[in-house]
């Protein structure tokens, strides 16, 4: 009997279990997303949604959304989020409580696996230009994940690589670019643009020249004592050097080292008397660096910001109607100076000299360049000697200057300017010896001027005329005003 009763109870329980409240609830939780694939671009908003499907009577259901180790408790069946780059596993843990139950049962959804990442890379290279034809371009993925990459050079087809760099060889000078993207996230590639520049600036040198008129030879031949030469570069030059050498029968000796030229100055005035060098370390005067009648080479070397450099040269020749040795000049030369004493004025004797002037004027200047500068004989010469206050002209002596002519002379003294006048007349004259001195001028000064600096020089009002009263061109008049220290009495305390 007892056994029968037990069996009945067991049967009833089984029936109850199968038919009603004793049956285990059946639930299906289905998780899905709108990502569309298992690779998702970083920054994309992903919406996860899930379904809780059951025939049982659940009085309460809540969810736990698992995104890797992060758990979000939700009552809704949808969740949108923007995930940072990484590999993800996502599932939903549904917690349901039947109407007759006081505790929650747990139901897990299916699991979604996907990767959030980027096609982009960050290039390691920071230079915009390279002075080499071989350039290695390397990169890192912006998402920090491991990828296979696709790269393209200068727009060519993309090439697959697992490496984080590409070695580019034998690139041509110019602008290049490398595009890289991750293979998995086949989006817009990252682009690195750079310049390959392995050559220095191209240099064009301009200069005073009559060649264009069909007359010159060599590069710059101006038929004159001056050349202004300037240069232009095909790209900005951060460093410029110049150098001079001479062409001689024996060879091409350098006459300067490479000089570090001021890049802000793009030209130089060349002449035989004084060349000014504008160097980075300062301005330097180079007297008599160049000579008339010689042919020189001017080299210019320019460096770009990458250190590439190029140089080129031009030849030039300075000329005039005379050479450096027989240049007709008029200048002043101090002759003697005596300090003043209490008893006697000091004295200063200055000579105005004109070496080579007569010879230059007399010379039949054969065809000089395309110009005709023939003139007649010297008839009139006037110079002004400018002098400081404190000096007084006491005597002017005019030595014979031109032989075989009557030399007439006079002067006008204005107290600070002495006008020296010399005329040459076609009258026979008994002149034993004629020199190059136009005039000797004696100044006197008082004791207060001893040791003082005075200034002396030839003024810009000068007139050099030939027998037709026509200006004679081509004589160098030194109009610099010179400082001269008057002598002091030495040993006066003895």
């Amino acid at each position: 009997m007892k056994r029968i009763s037990f069996m009945l109870v067991l049967l009833t329980a089984l029936v109850l279990l199968v038919t009603s409240c004793f049956k285990l609830p059946f639930v299906v939780v289905t998780l899905s997303s709108d990502a569309g694939s298992n690779t998702v671009l970083a920054g994309t908003t992903i919406t996860f949604s899930w379904k809780f499907e059951t025939a049982d009577d659940f009085k309460e259901v809540v969810y736990k959304l698992h995104i890797n180790d992060d758990i979000l408790e939700l009552e809704t069946t949808e969740y949108a989020t923007e995930l940072v780059a990484g590999n993800y596993k996502v599932w939903v843990e549904a917690l349901g409580k039947l109407a007759i139950e006081s505790n929650f049962r747990t139901f897990n959804s299916n699991e979604l696996e996907f990767t959030v990442g980027s096609p982009s890379v960050i290039f390691d290279n920071t230079q915009a230009a390279y002075a080499s034809k071989d350039v290695t371009v390397s990169w890192k993925p912006v998402d920090g994940l491991t990828h296979t990459y696709l790269y393209s050079v200068d727009g060519a087809a993309f090439v697959e690589t697992d490496a984080l760099k590409v070695d580019l060889k034998s690139l041509a000078d110019g602008t290049h670019f490398v595009e890289v993207k991750t293979k998995e996230f086949n989006g817009l590639p990252s682009k690195y643009v750079f310049k390959v520049d392995t050559t220095g600036p191209s240099i064009t040198i301009f200069g005073s020249d009559r060649y264009n008129g069909g007359l010159g030879d060599g590069d710059f031949r101006p038929f004159g004592r001056y050349i202004f030469t300037s240069w232009q570069f095909s790209e900005p030059a951060v460093k410029v050097e110049i150098r001079f050498r001479e062409t001689t029968e024996a060879g091409y000796p350098w006459i300067t080292d490479w000089l570090d030229w001021d890049p802000a100055v793009s030209g130089i005035l060349l002449n035989d008397e004084l060349v000014t060098l504008y160097l980075t370390e300062g301005t330097f005067m180079m007297p008599y660096m160049l000579e008339l009648g010689h042919t020189y080479l001017l080299y210019v070397r320019a460096y770009d910001e990458l250190g590439n450099n190029k140089n080129t040269y031009v030849s030039f020749k300075l000329e005039d109607r005379y050479t450096g040795e027989d240049k007709p000049e008029i200048f002043i030369a101090p002759i003697t100076a005596q300090p003043a004493t209490d008893e006697e004025d000091g004295s200063l004797v200055i000579a105005v000299v004109a070496p080579n002037v007569k010879e230059y004027i007399d010379k039949i200047k054969e065809y000089f360049a395309p110009d005709n500068t023939r003139n007649g004989e010297l008839m009139y010469l006037q110079n002004s000697l400018l002098y400081s206050q404190g000096l007084t002209v006491t005597q002017v002596f005019f030595p014979d200057f031109i032989p075989d002519k009557k030399n007439v002379s006079n002067f006008v003294d204005f107290g600070d300017e002495l006008v020296l006048v010399r005329g040459f007349v076609n009258e026979p004259a008994e002149i034993e010896e004629a020199g190059d001195v136009v005039a000797f001028v004696e100044f006197v000064f008082g004791p207060e001027m001893n040791g003082q600096e005075v200034s002396l020089g030839l003024g810009t009002d000068y007139f050099i005329r030939d027998g037709a009263n026509r200006t004679i061109d081509g004589i160098v008049v030194d109009n610099f005003i010179y400082g001269l220290d008057l002598p002091e009495i030495v040993g006066a305390e003895m």
Partner: protein
């Protein structure tokens, strides 16, 4: 044969097409200028310069490139003008500005010639054509040189007429090509003018077609002279950026003519500021023209100038398109102006109102310069007429420091050569002892830098005794000995 014919036809069609393009552009611009002239009621007319046909025939289609060549006068920087006021520059070179200045004679009126009160035209040589080079400065220099020869060597004189072409003489035809070839090297010039280490301006020749200034070419007329045009012909359309060296006679040097010095009539605006009276300045221009010949002058060119055909040129706008050197050959008074342009100037007109767009000033002009251009078939038979600065305007300039505008020739200096050998040798026996000798020389030097009628023997005279008188004395002394 067919091929050749085809080439010829294509060439002709091209020229016709391009030519039309050039002339149409000029016509369009001239029409605009005429609209402005009408709006401003100005007494001149614009049109298409006849010379453009020649450019078109050479395949030149860019009107602006022609204008650039036409306006090839380069104005001197301020420092050059200041140099004349004796700023103390020092120099150490062959040909510097100071030496160039030593061949100039700054002219002031002497009062020894009759200046016609009405109109006057000086003798001059026919209209020339600088064509496709910026060589106006050389043409003005040569034109003045040729006129100077007509007046000083041949003794021809101007006349009180109003039609300048009636006093054209073709006795002399000297080489503009040679003058143009001797341009200044502007690079060296500018480097030396602005380089503080260079104390005076360097004058060195260059043959680039880079524009020039008569002050240099007049100096070259002294030191180099000018050969004959037939020995050294002008190259009109060679399309080179430089002037060719092209003597066609190996003996060209034998025919060179040199001037002795150059008379300079100083800048009008600066003379007004320095306090020289109007009559002094106006008289200097007219005397120099009558005594020595037509003057090389220059001005800044307003954009409408190129289309001038007749009348009194007054600019309609302030757009400057370069500089131009021309030759001043005469002047018109109001009666002469009416006779010259009866269609434009009414019989009742007593003056021409000048509304100067540059200065904003309005003034009345009663005297007008006749100017010879070097653009061939252009303007008023090759000439144009422009108002002369009036006394009213000159005095305004003196008091206010402006008023003489860049488009007026008085804005710049004027130049004419002197041929000293053509002048009579004066009696220079100053002490009256019957001989010219050292004593007379000393007397003259002792009068140096003083005013003296007796000792003023320079060519030209100026009442002033200086180097010009002493050197002239020596020339005369030598001539007596010879």
């Amino acid at each position: 044969m067919k091929k050749t014919l085809l080439v010829i036809i294509i060439t002709l069609v091209s020229i016709a097409t391009f030519g039309n393009e050039l002339l149409q552009e000029a016509g369009s611009r001239a029409a605009e200028v005429n609209e402005s002239i009408a709006r401003l009621n100005l007494p001149w007319r614009a049109g298409v310069p006849g010379a453009l046909s020649e450019f078109a025939a050479h395949g030149i289609v860019d009107l602006d490139s022609i204008i650039e060549k036409w306006h090839g006068e380069v104005e001197l920087p301020e420092r050059m003008k200041m140099d004349l006021t004796k700023s103390l520059f020092v120099d150490q070179a062959t040909t510097r500005y100071s030496q160039l200045i030593s061949a100039l004679f700054v002219y002031f009126p002497y009062g020894d010639v009759h200046i016609p009160e009405g109109s006057f035209v000086q003798v001059h040589t026919p209209i020339t054509n600088q064509a496709f080079h910026g060589t106006c400065w050389a043409f003005a220099t040569v034109a003045s040189f040729e006129s100077g020869l007509l007046v000083q060597k041949d003794g021809l004189a101007g006349e009180e007429i109003t039609e300048p072409w009636k006093l054209q003489h073709d006795t002399y035809d000297l080489s503009e090509q040679f003058a143009s070839f001797h341009n200044i090297d502007w690079d060296i010039y500018l480097e030396s003018i602005y380089d503080p280490l260079q104390s005076d301006v360097i004058i060195q020749d260059d043959s680039s077609d880079a524009g020039g200034n008569a002050i240099f070419s007049t100096y070259n007329s002294v030191r180099y002279g000018l050969p004959l045009e037939s020995d050294f012909p002008y190259s009109m359309f060679d399309f080179n950026p430089w002037i060719l060296w092209n003597p066609v006679n190996n003996n060209w040097e034998e025919n060179i003519v040199k001037s002795t010095k150059t008379v300079q009539v100083y800048y009008g605006d600066e003379l007004s500021w320095l306090g020289y009276p109007y009559e002094f300045y106006n008289g200097a221009i007219k005397e120099a023209m009558i005594k020595f010949g037509s003057l090389a002058v220059s001005f800044r060119v307003p954009a409408d100038f190129d289309y001038y055909t007749e009348g009194v040129y007054i600019p309609t706008s302030t757009t400057i398109t370069g500089g131009h050197a021309v030759t001043l050959v005469g002047w018109l008074d109001m009666a002469g102006l009416k006779a010259a342009f009866p269609d434009l100037i009414g019989p009742e007109a007593t003056s021409i109102t000048v509304n100067d767009p540059f200065s904003g000033l309005t003034w009345e002009a009663t005297e007008f310069w006749i100017i010879k251009n070097s653009w061939g078939d252009w303007g008023w038979n090759g000439y144009y007429v422009v108002p002369a600065v009036s006394k009213q305007l000159y005095e305004f300039s003196a008091n206010n420091g402006f008023g003489i505008s860049p488009w007026m020739i008085e804005y710049n200096a004027m130049y004419v050569p002197i041929f000293e050998e053509t002048y009579a040798m004066e009696d220079v026996d100053f002490n009256g002892d019957g001989v010219v000798d050292e004593k007379d020389f000393d007397i003259l030097v002792n009068h140096m830098y003083t005013e003296s009628i007796i000792h003023d023997i320079s060519i030209p005279k100026d009442y002033w005794v200086d180097h010009e008188d002493i050197s002239r004395f020596l020339l005369i002394w030598n001539s007596i000995i010879d």
